[in-house]
């Protein structure tokens, strides 16, 4: 069980949210099928800190970004897209 701090509603149980997966930059508009497939299918899937998108589907309905540790499920930051990113250093694989 994870307590996830929605930037809009505050701390809520994770079953109020929909997990939308790790966030990765989209290919540019001119990107070919190969790039799009890599974007859609290939995942980093790290055992450590990861940036992902969550949707508060059972709450305010807002999508937001979160930085979560995939081994301990600790969440150290959440923020709305487009807003200033919190100051955390991502250590891949730690």
């Amino acid at each position: 069980m994870i307590l996830l701090p929605c930037p809009h509603c505050g701390k809520r149980n994770s079953n109020e949210f929909s997990y939308l997966g790790e966030s990765a930059p989209r290919p540019t508009e001119t990107g070919d099928a190969k790039l799009w497939r890599a974007y859609l299918y290939t995942k980093e899937n790290p055992a450590g800190w990861t940036r992902e998108t969550w949707l508060h589907s059972g709450g305010c309905g807002k999508a937001f970004l979160a930085e979560r540790h995939s081994v301990t499920n600790e969440v150290r930051a959440t923020w709305l897209p487009g807003r200033k990113e919190p100051d955390t250093t991502t250590e891949a694989g730690s």
Binding site: N15, R37, T42, K43, E52, G93
Partner: protein, 425 residues
């Protein structure tokens, strides 16, 4: 004199007579497999001593005569998904590729006890997948037709037939999710998963394969696009072929060779009740209720659920899971309300976008993968091991697994198997 078993090349054969003699003599059983020093060089290094890695090693040695093989594991034999699954076997999948593949695995499982000289306790008790909606009934008719075309015994049955097979099931239309029908797969059943792991380990070891537990692979050396070997805390190992069979950890091991995979690791939780007298014959699965139930030979009810809804490497159980599971099981079988749950656990599933595995070669020459099994890995073990052994020995991808290559994601040729998932994921 008592040490004889440990130094002998072939392990003692198990038989009813041997068991009786041993019981009367009261001496120690010899170790089931030998431990050995880690060598500097092997023909094949297999990462992961679960059913996939051990089966691949066994078929390499038994069918292709390649026995200079090391199976490395960061933990112990069968400590990952191979010892954490709910031990259900079936071949009633949705795509022809999937059905053919899992049917080959069932064929190998049926003869496994004799092949390995190890009692794997395979019980073909029948497998029922319940339909609670028109949509799932339609998918089941589809699955039954695909199965029959591939020669797999599978048919859609009525709620009355379900009641006949599992008498205490609530098939009335007063239930919250009334049962509209079921996909019945008589050859499906359960097996003792630990015995499968140990049986393969023992048989492979008897043919010269080395099994190194507590030997974590921490790096994979690649030079000019070719794999050179692996690094472990016990030293460097040179090998022209490295096979990744690490399921939930597959992305991390592939990352060491610079290969990216289309895999997300999700935990899947399961639970077991206290043992009671045998009352449940068939394996019962309900997609809409996200639950599958079977009873072991010891009498415990084993429950499995869908994967946790977010990616994680955490293997801790959660209260949400137990609550949800209990409410769903009681929908189906109100009469077991007084049974107590003994324990719950989680295993890691390597989920792919199309719910089909990733088997075969990678852009790094000599680095092979047998991963992406998601929630189907255990039942696939023997067929996957056999196919990967053939790929290693001949250098050609066997027809049976040609649809499951890593390149399919780049080419957009996915093999959609989601409709055959036991429960919604």
């Amino acid at each position: 004199m008592r040490q004889r078993g440990a130094t002998r090349r072939r392990p003692q054969r198990y038989s009813a007579f041997g068991l009786l003699r041993h019981g009367l003599r009261h001496d120690d059983w010899p170790r089931v497999w030998r431990t050995s020093e880690l060598d500097r060089r092997y023909d094949v290094v297999i990462v992961g001593a679960g059913v996939h890695g051990l089966a691949a090693a066994y078929y390499l040695a038994s069918k292709h005569g390649i026995s200079k093989v090391a199976v490395l594991d960061k933990g112990y034999v069968g400590g990952g998904g191979s010892g954490r699954n709910t031990a259900i076997l079936r071949s009633n999948y949705l795509t022809p590729e999937g059905v053919r593949f899992y049917e080959r695995s069932m064929e190998l499982y049926r003869n496994l006890a004799v092949d390995l000289n190890f009692n794997v306790m395979f019980a073909q008790r029948g497998h029922l997948t319940l339909a609670h909606t028109d949509a799932s009934l339609r998918t089941m008719v589809w699955r039954a037709e695909v199965n029959k075309l591939q020669g797999v015994n599978s048919e859609v049955v009525s709620p009355e037939e379900v009641k006949r097979l599992v008498p205490f099931m609530d098939v009335s239309n007063h239930a919250r999710y009334p049962i509209l029908g079921a996909l019945y797969h008589p050859p499906g059943g359960i097996i003792r998963h630990d015995a499968v792991n140990w049986g393969y380990a023992r048989a492979a070891n008897a043919l010269g394969v080395e099994i190194h537990q507590n030997t974590e692979v921490t790096g994979i050396t690649v030079r000019d696009g070719r794999v050179q070997g692996v690094t472990t805390p016990r030293g460097e190992i040179a090998a022209p072929i490295v096979l990744n069979c690490t399921a939930g950890w597959a992305s991390l091991v592939a990352g060491m060779a610079g290969v990216k995979l289309p895999i997300i690791t999700h935990p899947l939780q399961a639970a077991v009740t206290e043992p009671v007298k045998v009352f449940l014959g068939a394996v019962v699965v309900s997609g809409s209720l996200h639950v599958y139930v079977s009873q072991t030979d010891r009498g415990e009810l084993v429950f499995g659920a869908s994967t946790d809804p977010y990616a994680s490497y955490s293997m801790r159980g959660s209260l949400e899971f137990t609550e949800e599971l209990a409410s769903h099981v009681l929908e189906l079988m109100p009469s077991i309300g007084r049974m107590r749950v003994l324990r719950q656990w989680a295993g890691l599933c390597d989920m792919t976008p199309d719910f089909s595995p990733v088997m075969g070669t990678t852009p790094v020459e000599g680095f092979l993968v047998d991963v992406g099994w998601g929630t189907y890995g255990f039942k696939a073990g023997p067929a996957a091991g056999e196919a990967m052994a053939e790929l290693v020995a001949t250098g050609r991808t066997p027809e049976l697994i040609s649809a499951f290559g890593l390149a399919r994601f780049e080419q957009g040729r996915l093999v959609g198997e989601r409709g055959a998932a036991s429960v919604g994921h």
